[in-house]
Every structure is written in structure tokens, then in C-alpha cells.
Symmetry: C2
Subunit: 323 residues, 2 copies
């Protein structure tokens, strides 16, 4: 199916919004791109970069006549945005977004979606360490997953149309229930970030002498956690405020498992520890088989397409060898 | 001070042992290298690689006449090794090792060290994903820390001699109390690994449908944890069995902090979450200032010298931009 939208409205034009603009233009997926931002500076920057055809501070004007509207603002701004644009949305239009939680987004947007408009939230699992309109590039989504969480009353043809748009930009697309998305992301992304923030926080509370040595020897593992914990605090605050239930559910399982591990350490239960450290390898192998392993760390790094062939399992040496 | 040992005995010749052999030879730090292993295969491999001058299955023979003995076997084998070699150790010799815990090592070795022999345990913070005699390379220690934990009765001149040996192989050397080493490593290395194993274990218990999606979307953070949790289970079992007290102390602080974070998520305390996610940045900056940041993840990866100039702070994008 050839993908074609008459007018794409991007509300917000940071890294993701600008990458969508560039990818959609390059692939010839849209005729007109209209861009709305809240700040004049950002709008001027987008115009200088030539990201669109229409530039406005009025989000309602941006969406007029658009058959695809994608919110690329922080999730916290959605309710105010949807109230502004709802009266200007055309029947047949698709409203989507790029936020990292989905149940909350549906709660914020659904009540304001007019009759005949399809709400299909989306989450492209892509990013780099840069932000702003100049950070975007057309290849950002190449080989990356995009999850769509259409609401129940949406016509499947509309979902397929949006999926085709993302596939044309290079993504692999998966549709699922918003609650399921939030649970999966809680364990793949939100809990790892929470744990990383937590361990760095524990170090921040150590006495100064120990702390300076922790920093010195941070390459032994801790450093990688600080890289994760260097992510944007405001964005992560919002993730935890808006995906609370799924995070607490997964955190409950995590702490329960940690208590079991802690007991095995306390009682010196070697066989239990070895068994627990061994069973995690199957998961690792699955990730490699799924082509999801790359040589580079993902946290806060530019993304590339997954490698054509899986990499070998890596192991860490820890100071003991067979004699 | 020019570094010179008459005879270096390496007990165990895996990645670390073979790298010491190559680096010491290249830098001209020793006259004779004797190598002892438990298995004939490993010994034959070391001989084919030309790692030493003397090859033997008898550790006592290997240490005869040696002024530097370094145990490079798993920590669990130390007690049996030291009992074997103790009668053959010469007065004036230094006995060291490369294990990742130090208090336990002193407990295992000290009672067997003869009068006039200096026990100076060591821990080179270096490794790659490979193991065995063929994995070694002379540059492994370049720019990496090596911690020495001399026992109280050791002559400082002996410690300095061993420190000079490590510096000549490219390491930065730091001497400290064994208990302090174990506490610092518990938080920089052991707890990060425990937490990584734990989160991968939590995923291993998820229902199959969710698990397959977790694997699919693992690049969002979880994947980096699986890389950590792919480390050698037996080695890590031994770390947790031999550094129990420090691990439990640090794990106690970690879980206490996690409870506070969990409460903030549950009560939707945005300011507290943001504050906690912000204060971790100072630690990150310190690591970068200390030159301990590299572009590559450390877990199970080949090491290189730290970069000459610090890298910029990285941030992760999560689907929201300023509009």
C-alpha cells in the first residue's frame, strides 16, 4: 500500500518531531507539513531548518485540514494541546503522539477527540542524546520499533494507514493494548532507569572518602548505571507520575526477587546464587537471537539499525582463571 | 625506580595471568617467568603461546626461587594453592593475586604465609569478554586501576616494589585497606551486577507473551542489564559468597533508598522524584571529570585507556520535546 497523507501536523518539533518531518518528506509520505510550537524561538529554528511548509504558534491552525496530527510535546502538555486543537480537527483525521507512556495518554486525549476522528497513540522506541529541532535526522527510526495503541473504536484501516506511515520511515510496527504497552515498558525501560537512579543516589549518600573511590573505580559496572541515570530528570519524573500502576507492579516483583537473592547471599547459598545467575542467560540469548543486540550501549546514545547478524555472547572477566 | 624481579611465578594462566606474562616481558620487568597450571591442556597452550620460560603442573616447583608470585586462579582455589606452595616460598618473596575480593583472600592466604614473605593482595580492574591463555594481551592494564591491599606487617618498600611493577605495565596503582576495597567494590561492581541479574530474573518469570515483547523492546534499557547479567555465573557466585558482609551492607542502603523512591512513585510526589533524579547528575559529572568515561560500555567489553578528554554528558530522549 502506498502511504499518502495530504497534510501532516506536528505539534512540537524537538528531536522526534523534526525526525518525523525529515523522514516523511524524504520518503514522500505527505504533501504538506505544518509545524506548531509554543515558543517563537523553536518555531524560527524549525523554519530556518526548512522542516515544514507551514509554521505557526497556533496549534489549531496547524491541524486545520490535516489528515494526520502527531503530538510531539511532553506528555504533560497533551491535555492543553488537545483542548486547543479539538475544534479544528477534521473528520477522518488520525490523532497520534510519540510519548513513552500510553494508558495515561489515552486518558488525557480520548475525552476530547471529536466524532469521526481516530485516536491512535504511538511510541517510537528511538532517541539520541540530543534534543531540539536541529537534532532530528531522517534515519532515526530505521530498524527501530514503533508501538501503536489504537483505542477500541478505531477503524483498523486507520491503524494500518498509520502503521504503513511508520514502516515507510523505516520502523518495525507492533500494535497492542495501551495497558500492555505500559507494563512491557515498565520492565524494559522504567524499572532499569529507576534502579539506576537509585544506585547512583545510594552512592551520593556515601561518605566523601568512599565516594571519591567509587568514582575512581566506576568502570567496574557503576559507570554504566550513571550513564543511564544521566537521562533528563523532568522527563523521567513524568514517566513515573504517568505510568505509576505498571511501575509499582513491576517494582513489586523486582523487590520480591531481590529479597530472595539477598537471603541467598546472607545464608551463603552458593547453588541458589549460581542457579539464579545462570537462568538469566536464556534471556540474553533470546535478545541476541532477536537481533536486538548491538555493540553500543543504548542509553542516551545515537541509534543505528540492528546488526544484520547477532553478536556473540559477551562475558565479563573478574580476576580468576582456570589454573 | 627501575623495576626488576628475578623470577615471576604465575599460578594460573587465564586472561589476567597471560596478560601479566606478556606485559612484564615486554617491559623487561622480569628475568624468568614460570607458569603453573592445574590442567595439562592449559599448560600446553601457554607453552605454545610462549608465555613463559618454565612450565609445570607443580605450583611448588614454579615458585621455587621466585621473588614475585601472583595467584591468577579463581579465589576458591587459593587455600589449596597456598598450602602447596608455602614450603617452597623464599624469604623476601612477595605473594600477590588478582582476585576481585580482598578481605576473604587475606583470610585464606595470611595464615599460610611463611616468615619473611610479604602478602600483598592485588586487584587489577581490567578484563575483557574473553578468557584463557590465548586471550591475554600486553596492553590489558594500560590506564586501568590496580588496587593493592598490603597486610599490616608488610614492609612499605615491598608494596612500592609491587606498585612499580603494575605501573610499569601501564596501571594506575592505589593502596588501601582490604575491607575498604571490598566496600568500594561492593557498590561499584557487585551491587550493579546483583541488580542486573535480579531484573533479568524478574523478566525470566514473566508470562511468555510479555517476555517475548520485553525481548523485542529490550533496547529501551533492559538490554544493557542483560549484558551485565551475562557475566560468568560461577565467578559471581564466588564474589557474593566471599564478599558477603560488604554486599549486604551496601544492598541494605540500596533497598532502603529504593523504598523511598517507591513511596514517591506511589504517592505521585513529582518534586521528590525530580530532586532524586537530579542529584545523581553530580556523580555523573565527577566520573566524567575523573576521566573514567568512555564511549564504550564496560561490562564484558575489551578495555582501552581512558580518553584524553572527557566526553560530554549524555542524555536520553524519551518521546517529549518542547513545543
Amino acid at each position: 500500500m502506498s502511504v499518502h497523507f495530504r497534510k501532516l501536523a506536528l505539534i512540537g518539533i524537538g528531536l522526534i518531531g523534526s525526525s518525523i518531518a525529515l523522514a516523511a518528506r524524504r520518503q514522500g509520505l505527505v504533501e504538506v507539513i505544518s509545524i506548531a510550537t509554543r515558543k517563537q524561538d523553536t518555531l524560527d529554528e524549525a523554519r530556518e531548518l526548512g522542516l515544514g511548509d507551514i509554521y505557526t504558534l497556533d496549534a489549531a491552525e496547524a491541524v486545520r485540514g490535516a489528515d494526520l496530527v502527531i503530538l510531539c510535546t511532553p506528555v504533560g502538555a497533551y491535555e492543553s494541546v488537545i483542548k486547543t486543537i479539538a475544534p479544528a480537527l477534521e473528520p477522518g483525521a488520525i490523532v497520534s503522539d510519540v510519548g513513552s507512556v500510553k494508558g495515561h495518554v489515552i486518558k488525557a486525549l480520548a475525552p476530547h477527540i471529536p466524532e469521526g476522528v481516530s485516536l491512535i497513540p504511538g511510541h517510537p522506541l528511538a532517541g539520541t542524546e540530543h534534543s531540539g529541532p536541529a537534532a532530528g535526522f531522517a534515519e532515526l527510526f530505521t530498524g527501530r520499533w514503533c508501538v501503536l495503541t489504537p483505542t477500541e473504536d478505531v477503524n483498523p484501516a486507520q491503524t494500518e494507514k498509520l502503521a504503513a506511515f511508520w514502516r515507510a520511515m523505516g520502523s518495525q510496527v507492533e500494535a497492542m493494548d495501551a495497558a500492555h504497552h505500559d507494563m512491557v515498558l515498565a520492565i524494559t525501560s522504567h524499572i532499569p532507569h529507576l534502579v539506576a537512579y537509585n544506585i547512583v543516589g545510594t552512592v551520593a549518600d556515601l561518605e566523601a572518602a568512599t565516594q571519591s573511590e567509587v568514582i575512581k573505580f566506576s568502570a567496574s559496572g557503576f559507570r554504566d548505571f550513571t550513564r543511564i541515570a544521566a537521562s533528563d530528570p523532568v522527563m523521567w519524573r513524568d514517566v513515573f507520575l504517568t505510568n505509576r500502576d505498571a511501575v509499582l507492579e513491576m517494582l513489586g516483583r523486582f523487590t520480591e526477587d531481590l529479597s530472595v537473592l539477598q537471603r541467598a547471599v546472607r545464608t551463603g547459598d552458593g547453588p541458589a546464587l549460581e542457579a539464579m545467575f545462570t537462568r538469566t542467560r536464556a534471556i540474553r540469548r533470546s535478545i541476541i537471537s532477536a537481533g536486538q543486540e548491538t555493540a553500543a550501549p543504548d542509553f542516551g546514545r545515537p541509534h543505528e539499525a540492528p546488526p544484520a547478524s547477532p553478536l556473540p555472547i559477551v562475558r565479563e572477566h573478574g580476576g580468576g582463571d582456570d589454573a
